[in-house]
Structures are given as structure tokens and as C-alpha cells.
């Protein structure tokens, strides 16, 4: 919890309340072209260059629905376990804003693409299903640029490149009960959309945007409290902080005998607070009506099933398989499926190593640690999945010790060379020659008569010291299992 939230209501007071949260998430579909015209969706082009009469809303222009965008939206709806309507309708949502050149957004209203799905989340060791009310498609507006120009005190600039970018809106049921659950839900949504490749979900580029409906009620209460809508939750960190703040704010009002005002509030990441927006300005009546320029959207059973058949393995399915097939712990399976890159990396490495659990430990520990330290992503890892698999195989076959492996891994990371190359180049091969080890053991025993004595008098703990001495004498290269075995034999 943020400090701002804590000053509003102490934890013991908060504990008497329960939050009720629903999220509205906008996901940008990864089509090459826009939803109603052929303009590219690429990010970062000079302002007002990825535009045409259709997305500029010029007089006389008409929209033509992008088939690929529909397919992606259907795919997303199916992944969210929704029922896809055989016939849905596009509808106009009317409002005035300078970055909305048609004067309306083409969205869906009372006949959305899909309804009635769910997403499974995993919070504090328990699974929970969060209902998905609906999934619908719509076009994005442009961007109003209020800052950064010489005359920004007097003018707002408008960049219409983003106009007509395809979006889906995913509306959840008010099933979330804490900021942690909201965080887990959004994480799972992002993961799903990335897995099925309908969106890159790059939050910095606005590919994933989130608004929340929040209310609180005393624990045990049946009815919902008055809700507020919190906007601008465009990073995972903001989402949690804003929800914590808003929950505490509402609890504090109720504790002081006040009432919650139903309103739209904007999260300000600089102050960590949510602020009410002037209701008068935003009291919209969107005057929805069916878009007469587009025919009803028909999705045949055949088309829908073809899209379903193309669906890759979803994260939840993959997690279950990892537990089943590789004998991983649930938690490990959860971590390793956090992205498709990561789970693919793990599976490729495990295939080479033949030791899935050992591979899981290495991926989650050394690999992710090294990546995090350098701010890199899986595809940028200097150590390939196959190379890591080889390293794990060397350990599990007893050719190198874990300690040596860590040394080798660091060198692999630095050079990009394979474990074997490094071992050969640096003479790091493990000593498994029994005769050689026996010779060293004899030297060690001779140099440490007191310890030999105490071992023989029953203090078996001394064995570790003696093993350590042998390892030291071989610069860590002796096979530890063999050292153990031979030492015991020698000591009788």
C-alpha cells in the first residue's frame, strides 16, 4: 500500500471493508492496417502522416471493416471463454472532441461481438474466476498534444495517426475484491493477448489501457456501494497505487459518515491521488445508434471454429501441462509461463538438458537474474536456450559441480560461448579420475590428522571440512560425489 493511501485509512479500518472492482480494458489489436482503411498502424510516424480520407473522417468517406481485425477480436473473445454472437452490430458513439475527426467513434453497443466469458487468476495461492461481461471492437481516436510546442499555452495540437487503430474493449464483471486481484487479472489478460498474438500489449505505446469501476462495502454486506470510475491507469504500478488510494479514500469517507459521489476520477501518478473530473464537462449522452455505413457483422460457425482451431496453447493450459509433464511445482509453472518467450525458452532448454526441474531452477534463478540485472528480455539473452540446456545436462550427468556451473554460466553470459568451449579453453573439466582424487585425498588426510581422528571418534560432521579441503586442492574441479564416496571409503 502507498503511503498516501495509508494516511487516509489505517489498515485495521480498511480490513473491515471489502472493495468491489470491475475493469474496462482497451487492447490495441496487432493488425498491420487500421480497422476501417488501409493506413498502417505503425507507431512513431511523423504526426498526421499515417492518414487517409477514411481515418481523417473527411466528407464522403466510408468505413470498410478490416477482416483481420475481426478475426483477432474473435480470437481474443474465444480465449476469454466468451460466446461469440453470430450477428453483432457496429454502433456510433457520438461526442465532440478535436482528436475525434468523425464526431463519433465506431464502437459496439447493445449487440457486442461476444459476451459471458471468464479469466482465471491466481492470487495468494488460490485460483479464482473473474467474469468477462463483454468484448467489443471499436476504432481509436487521435491524440491531443497539449504540451511541447512553443505556443502550447494557447493551442492544442492534434495528431490523427492513431485514428482508426483497431481496439477491443474487454469489460469485466465486478468480481475483483482487491488491488492485488485487479493486478493479477490485468496481468493475465495481457499474457493471454500476447500468447494468442492479437496484441503486443505494450503499455508505453498505449496498446493496453485500463479504467476501473471501484466501490467499497463493509465486509459481509450483500449490496454494492456507490461506485466511481477511475481513469488513466496506464501502467501496472499505477493500477495498484490508484486502486489502493481510491479504496482508502472511499473507506475514509464512509468512516466519517459521508457518502460516495458517483463520478469519474482521474489518477494522477505524480501525486498518487485520484481527482474528480468536472462532472458537467463529462456528463456525456453518447446517443448510440447502429452504424448505417456498415452491414451487421456476421460470424459464421465455420469461421469462428476455424479461428478457434488456430488458437495456440493458452497460458492456463500450459501451466497445467508443465505441472503434469515436467513435474514442476505450481508456482514454478506460473513463473515460467509469464510470457511465451520465457515458456518457449524453458521448453527448448529442458529438451536439451533432459532435466526439466533442474532447467526450471536455472531459468528462474540465474537466467532471469542475469536478464533483470541488465534490463534485458528473453530474446536478447546472450545464453541461448540450447546452451543453457547443455549446461544443465553437464550438471545432472555429474560432469561438473553446481558451483563450477555458476562460474561457467557467468562466462557463457559474457562471451556467448557454449559451456563445453569454455571448459575446454580454461581447463575447467571436472576431475572424475578416481586414482587422481585418491592421491589428493591421501595428501589431505595426511595434512589433517586431528580431523581424521575426530571423524573416526564419531563426529561425522568433519567430513564436510575434509571434502572442502579436497575441492580446494583441485580448484573446485573434483567431482564432489566421487570425493565424498572415496573419502568415506578411506576413512573406513
Amino acid at each position: 500500500m502507498s503511503s498516501t493511501a495509508a494516511t487516509l485509512a489505517p489498515p485495521e479500518v480498511l480490513a473491515r471493508y471489502e472493495a468491489v472492482i470491475g475493469l474496462e480494458v482497451h487492447v490495441q489489436l496487432a493488425t498491420r492496417t487500421k480497422i476501417f482503411c488501409g493506413c498502417p498502424t505503425s507507431f512513431g510516424a511523423p504526426p498526421n502522416t499515417n492518414v487517409c480520407p477514411v481515418c481523417l473522417g473527411l466528407p464522403g468517406a466510408l468505413p470498410v471493416l478490416n477482416r483481420r481485425a475481426v478475426e483477432m477480436a474473435v480470437k481474443a473473445a474465444l480465449a476469454l471463454n466468451c460466446t461469440v454472437r453470430p450477428v453483432s452490430r457496429l454502433a456510433r458513439k457520438n461526442y465532440f472532441y478535436p482528436d475525434l475527426p468523425k464526431g463519433y467513434q465506431i464502437s459496439q453497443y447493445d449487440e457486442p461481438l461476444a459476451e459471458g466469458g471468464w479469466v482465471e487468476i491466481f492470487v495468494n495461492g488460490t485460483r479464482k474466476r473473474i467474469g468477462v461481461t463483454r468484448v467489443h471492437i471499436e476504432d481509436d481516436a487521435g491524440k491531443s498534444l497539449h504540451e511541447g510546442f512553443e505556443d502550447s499555452d494557447r493551442y492544442t495540437y492534434v495528431d490523427l495517426n492513431r485514428c482508426g487503430t483497431p481496439l477491443i474493449e474487454i469489460v469485466s464483471e465486478p468480481d475483483l475484491r482487491s488491488s492485488e486481484e485487479a493486478y493479477a487479472y490485468l496481468t493475465e489478460l495481457k499474457l493471454l493477448m500476447q500468447y494468442i498474438e492479437v496484441s503486443t500489449c505494450d503499455m508505453e505505446k498505449g496498446h493496453l489501457r485500463c479504467d476501473a469501476n471501484v466501490s467499497v462495502r463493509p465486509r459481509g454486506a450483500e449490496t454494492f456501494g456507490t461506485k466511481t470510475e477511475v481513469k488513466n491507469l496506464n501502467s501496472f504500478r499505477f493500477l495498484k497505487a490508484a486502486l489502493d488510494y481510491e479504496i482508502a479514500r472511499q473507506v475514509a469517507i464512509l468512516e466519517n459518515g459521508g457518502a460516495i459521489v458517483q463520478e469519474t476520477r482521474l489518477y494522477n501518478p505524480d501525486t498518487g491521488e485520484t481527482m474528480g473530473m468536472r462532472t458537467k464537462e463529462y456528463a456525456h449522452d453518447y446517443r448510440y445508434f447502429p452504424e448505417p455505413d456498415l452491414l451487421p457483422l456476421r460470424i459464421s460457425e465455420e469461421w469462428r471454429e476455424r479461428i478457434r482451431a488456430e488458437m495456440p496453447e493458452l497460458p492456463s493450459q500450459k501451466r497445467a501441462r508443465f505441472v503434469e509433464q515436467y513435474g514442476l511445482r505450481e508456482y514454478d509453472a506460473q513463473v515460467l509461463t509469464l510470457s511465451r518467450d520465457l515458456s518457449d525458452y524453458f521448453e527448448r532448454a529442458a529438451a536439451v538438458s533432459g532435466d526439466p526441474r533442474g532447467t526450471a531452477n536455472w531459468v528462474m534463478g540465474d537466467l532471469l537474474g542475469a536478464l533483470k540485472a541488465e534490463g534485458k528480455e528473453i530474446p536478447e539473452s546472450p545464453v541461448s536456450a540450447e546452451q543453457l540446456g547443455e549446461l544443465v545436462a553437464l550438471i545432472s550427468r555429474g560432469e561438473i559441480s553446481g558451483k563450477l556451473a555458476k562460474e561457467i554460466f557467468a562466462k557463457m553470459w559474457a562471451t556467448g560461448d557454449s559451456a563445453r568451449t569454455i571448459m575446454e579453453r580454461e581447463g575447467l573439466r571436472q576431475i572424475s579420475d578416481a586414482a587422481l582424487i585418491e592421491k589428493i585425498i591421501e595428501e589431505v588426510l595426511a595434512a589433517n590428522p586431528k580431523q581424521v581422528e575426530s571423524y573416526r571418534s564419531g563426529k561425522s560432521g568433519v567430513l564436510g571440512f575434509l571434502v572442502g579441503q579436497v575441492m580446494k586442492a583441485t580448484r573446485g574441479q573434483a567431482n564432489p560425489a566421487l570425493v565424498n564416496e572415496l573419502l568415506r571409503k578411506k576413512l573406513g
Binding site: P53, L56, G57, L58, P59, G60, A61, L62, P63, V64, L65, R92, N94, F96, P98, P101, K102, G103, Y104, V158, D285, R287, Y288, F289, P292, D293, L294, L295
Partner: protein, 484 residues
């Protein structure tokens, strides 16, 4: 090329003249532009001319003919285009102050097809602002006068296109029709005009008034000219999702004059309380069709009474949304004195739109508002479905329906401008066909005692423009349009 010659031209006459080398397309364009500019001092059919575009189109035709190539079905034909249809590089104002200086960056599909067929666009014609009106008096740039009687309106909203064809300053013209905006001015000016089936002609590049009702269609002095132009502009366009895949017949080739056995329905709702002169002329026309071998039946379209209310809810609702983009932010004129965004919107739109547009935007905004949607818009859609069903049932019994186009002939300028309801009633016979999305047309059927043209409306089944045109053409051949 004198005025009499220019006035007499049809598409076929232009073609023959060109192929027989009696004149070149460029010469015709030049003569026609000069004639049009002179006539326009009297009628103001055109808002502006585009001579450069006309000459380059005409030159292409002359070059093709010189090379012995087929110059296309509209070779060298001078065409007028209503100023709600976009022409790349040529001002398209919608007769609105807001778009007074708007130069579109692309052509409407109908314009592209027309020019590919060899048509020569002379200029853009006057109309009611954003095609909203029935008299062309709602133009921000002044009214058009009826060439038959300059004291009277040419009808609307495509009054400029109708007047240009009627006075012979264009051989054919493109208009647009939402509730009668082609048929009514055609009847007021004594020419023919066609509202095709909804979806038959692409709306891409037609500035939207009411998207589910808007059509582009032709005007011509003869039915055959309408048939030729319609064939050129009709057909599927992938840029308009509502355009139909239905194949386009060779309309002019099907005009064989044989209408024996064609079943015609006269809906009784359209004849009660009709001014006797108009009614008499329509019934006389029906007698002629009977003589040509048609069978005539009394039919009923019982939902007719609800059409005006239904139409003015749907068209204003859609208009309120379609006209939202004229907001001062991008290409329209703008009020620069406003201090805030909302103030800029208010003043730009308040100063930019004329009274009729404002009336319809307000009405349309109201009927779509929360709490009123079900009572107005949704109910109107249900009524619309009933009206369409009425027609579908009627067309099980008859092949065509004949009605008047307008309850009265061309009225005087200013006569109805202060009474919007009275003005709306001039669409009473034309809006039902628009709501049903069926093809309809106006063909002249005589004049009143005071010499004002009267039009007969023919309505047909979805995509049966061929049957409708054949009936109109047979009527014309039999002398039915003579004197109009």
C-alpha cells in the same frame, strides 16, 4: 453550336456528332460552358464551373477518337454534378458556408466511373445545404430558379442539377436523393430522374446526409439518357460496404418499348386529397400505359400515413451524427474569436449552418438522446420495416407502382420557406420508396393549365431498375412525356 442545338443534345446525339466528326469534344465543352455561364445569370443552376477539368476530360475523348479507340458510353457528354458529390481538386461546398472553400483530395466513385466512361464534368450544381430541403432555397449561396418559370423553385434538394438539364446547360447530371431530392426537382423541371435501389450506386464520395437513405442517381431529358448514365455509375464498390454485389444489366439495351402484360398498382393512399390537376395528369398517364398493354390494379400501402414522421426521425438522427464533423477543427471555416473549445464549436457551427440544418441537427440529437431513443428512433426503424413490408407485399401482385411525385407543381420562391412542415409535406409521395430502399423515378407526364410540369413516379422491386426504366421509356415513346 447555337443554344437550340445545345438544348436538344442527348447522349446519343453527342456520340453521333463526335463519331461523325461534326464537332470535337473540346469544342462542345467550350460551347456548353459558355452557354451555361450565360444561362446561369438567370437560373443559378451551377455554383461553380471547372473548365480545366472539363477540357482535359474532353481532350482525352478526342484523343481516343483520333486513335480509333472506343471513347466510352458517355464520350464527350457534358455533365453537371451536384455539389454534395466530391470532385478531387474542385471545390465541393455542399452549398454550405462551412465548406465554402473545401477542396476534396479525392473523387467520388460515381465521378471516377463517369469520367472513365468519357463524361465531361462542367461544374458543380447548387442544392439545399447538405441536401436538406425541397426547393434549393436552403443554399448558403442563394437559390436556383426554375428554368420553366424563374419565379418558381426548381425543387430540391438537387435543384441545380435538375435545372441544368432542363435548361440544357448539361446533357445529363448527377444528383442525390435521400427522401425525394432527385425525383421532386425532376418533376418540377419537367425532366426524368432516377433514385436507384439503395446499394446500387456507391455512396463513396457522396457527402453524407442520412447514410441509410442517401442515393446518387442520374437526371436526363430522356429516359434513355438516365439508363445510360445509371449503367455507368452502378455496381459494387469495395469502398462502400453497403453497395450491392448484384450484377448491373445493360439498361439502355433493355428499353424495347414492350410493356404488354406489365402489372401496375395504383396505391389508393396516394390519390386521396390530391390536387385535381396533378391527379388528372397521373390518371391520364395511367390510361396511356393501359393502352400500351399494361394491366392496372387498385392496391393499398396502409402504412403510408406514418412515412413522414418515420422519415424525419431517421434522417435527422443520422444527419445529427453525420454533420458532427463540421466542427471548425480541420477543414471547415472556423470562428477564431472564441476563447474556449466549446465556444469555438458553438460559434463555428452556429454561424456556419443554415436554419434548416440546425433544425435537423437539433431534432436528430433529440430523438437519439437517452430516454427518447426507444420512443423515437427505434420505433421509426420498426415503422420503416413495416413500410418496406407493405411494398414487398404489393410487389407480389404488381410489377410497378405508379403515384404522383409531388402533391403540387413547382411553387414560388419564398412561398414555403417559413413553414418547414409544409415544405416537408412536398416529400410525402417520395419518402416511402426511399425508406423501403426500392428503385423509383420521376418521368414527366404533362403540364398544368398554367404550364408547370408534373411528374409521375414509378416504383419497382429491389434491383429492378430495368423494368422501371422500360416502363418509363415505353411511356415516353408513346408520347406520354410530350408537352412536359
Amino acid at each position: 453550336m447555337d443554344a437550340g442545338f445545345l438544348r436538344s443534345l442527348t447522349i446519343d446525339a453527342v456520340r453521333q456528332g463526335l463519331l461523325r466528326k461534326e464537332f470535337r469534344a473540346v469544342e462542345l465543352a467550350e460551347a456548353m460552358l459558355r452557354f451555361a455561364q450565360a444561362e446561369d445569370a438567370r437560373t443559378r443552376a451551377y455554383l461553380h464551373f471547372c473548365p480545366e477539368r472539363a477540357f482535359s476530360a474532353a481532350r482525352r475523348v478526342d484523343e481516343k477518337i483520333a486513335r480509333g479507340e472506343d471513347p466510352g458510353p458517355l464520350a464527350g457528354v457534358p455533365v453537371a454534378v451536384k455539389d454534395v458529390i466530391l470532385t478531387k481538386g474542385v471545390r465541393t461546398t455542399c452549398a454550405s458556408r462551412l465548406l465554402a472553400n473545401y477542396i476534396p483530395p479525392y473523387d467520388a466513385t460515381a465521378v471516377v466511373r463517369l469520367e472513365e466512361a468519357g463524361g465531361v464534368i462542367l461544374g458543380k450544381t447548387n442544392c439545399d445545404e447538405f441536401a436538406m430541403g425541397s426547393s434549393t432555397e436552403n443554399s448558403a449561396f442563394g437559390p436556383t430558379r426554375n428554368p420553366v418559370d424563374p419565379e418558381r423553385v426548381p425543387g430540391g434538394s438537387s435543384g441545380g442539377s435538375a435545372a441544368a438539364v432542363a435548361q440544357g446547360t448539361a446533357v445529363v447530371a448527377l444528383g442525390s436523393d435521400t427522401g425525394g431530392s432527385i425525383r421532386q426537382p425532376a418533376s418540377f423541371c419537367g425532366i426524368s430522374g432516377v433514385t436507384p435501389t439503395y446499394g446500387r450506386v456507391s455512396r463513396y464520395g457522396l457527402v453524407a446526409f442520412a447514410s441509410s437513405l442517401d442515393h446518387i442517381g442520374p437526371f436526363g431529358k430522356t429516359v434513355r439518357d438516365n439508363a445510360i448514365l445509371l449503367r455507368v455509375i452502378a455496381g459494387r464498390d469495395e469502398r462502400d460496404s453497403t453497395s450491392a454485389f448484384a450484377p448491373v444489366p445493360d439498361y439502355p439495351a433493355l428499353l424495347d418499348g414492350d410493356v404488354r402484360g406489365v402489372k401496375i398498382g395504383l396505391p389508393r393512399e396516394y390519390f386521396k386529397g390530391l390536387a385535381s390537376e396533378t391527379g388528372d395528369l397521373i390518371l391520364r398517364a395511367v390510361d396511356l400505359l393501359r393502352k400500351l398493354g399494361c394491366e392496372v390494379f387498385d392496391i393499398s400501402l396502409p402504412t403510408t400515413d406514418y412515412a413522414i414522421a418515420c422519415y424525419y426521425i431517421i434522417c435527422t438522427a443520422e444527419a445529427s451524427s453525420n454533420l458532427a464533423r463540421y466542427d471548425g477543427v480541420r477543414y471547415t471555416t472556423r470562428n477564431f474569436e472564441a476563447d474556449t473549445l466549446v465556444e469555438m464549436y458553438r460559434r463555428t457551427r452556429g454561424e456556419g449552418f443554415g436554419a434548416e440544418c440546425k433544425r435537423r441537427i437539433i431534432l436528430g440529437t433529440y430523438v437519439l438522446s437517452a430516454g427518447y431513443y426507444d420512443a423515437y428512433y427505434l420505433k421509426a426503424q420498426k415503422v420503416r420495416a413495416l413500410i418496406a413490408r407493405d411494398f414487398a407485399e404489393a410487389f407480389q401482385k404488381v410489377d410497378a407502382i405508379i403515384t404522383p411525385v409531388s402533391p403540387f407543381p413547382a411553387f414560388k420562391l419564398g412561398e414555403k420557406i417559413d413553414d418547414p412542415l409544409e415544405m416537408y409535406l412536398s416529400d410525402i409521395y417520395t419518402i416511402t420508396g426511399s425508406l423501403a430502399g426500392i428503385p423509383c423515378m420521376s418521368v414527366p407526364c404533362g403540364r398544368t393549365a398554367s404550364g408547370l410540369p408534373v411528374g409521375m413516379q414509378i416504383l419497382a422491386r429491389h434491383f429492378d431498375e430495368a423494368g422501371m426504366l422500360r416502363l418509363a421509356d415505353a411511356f415516353e415513346r408513346a408520347g406520354g412525356t410530350a408537352g412536359a
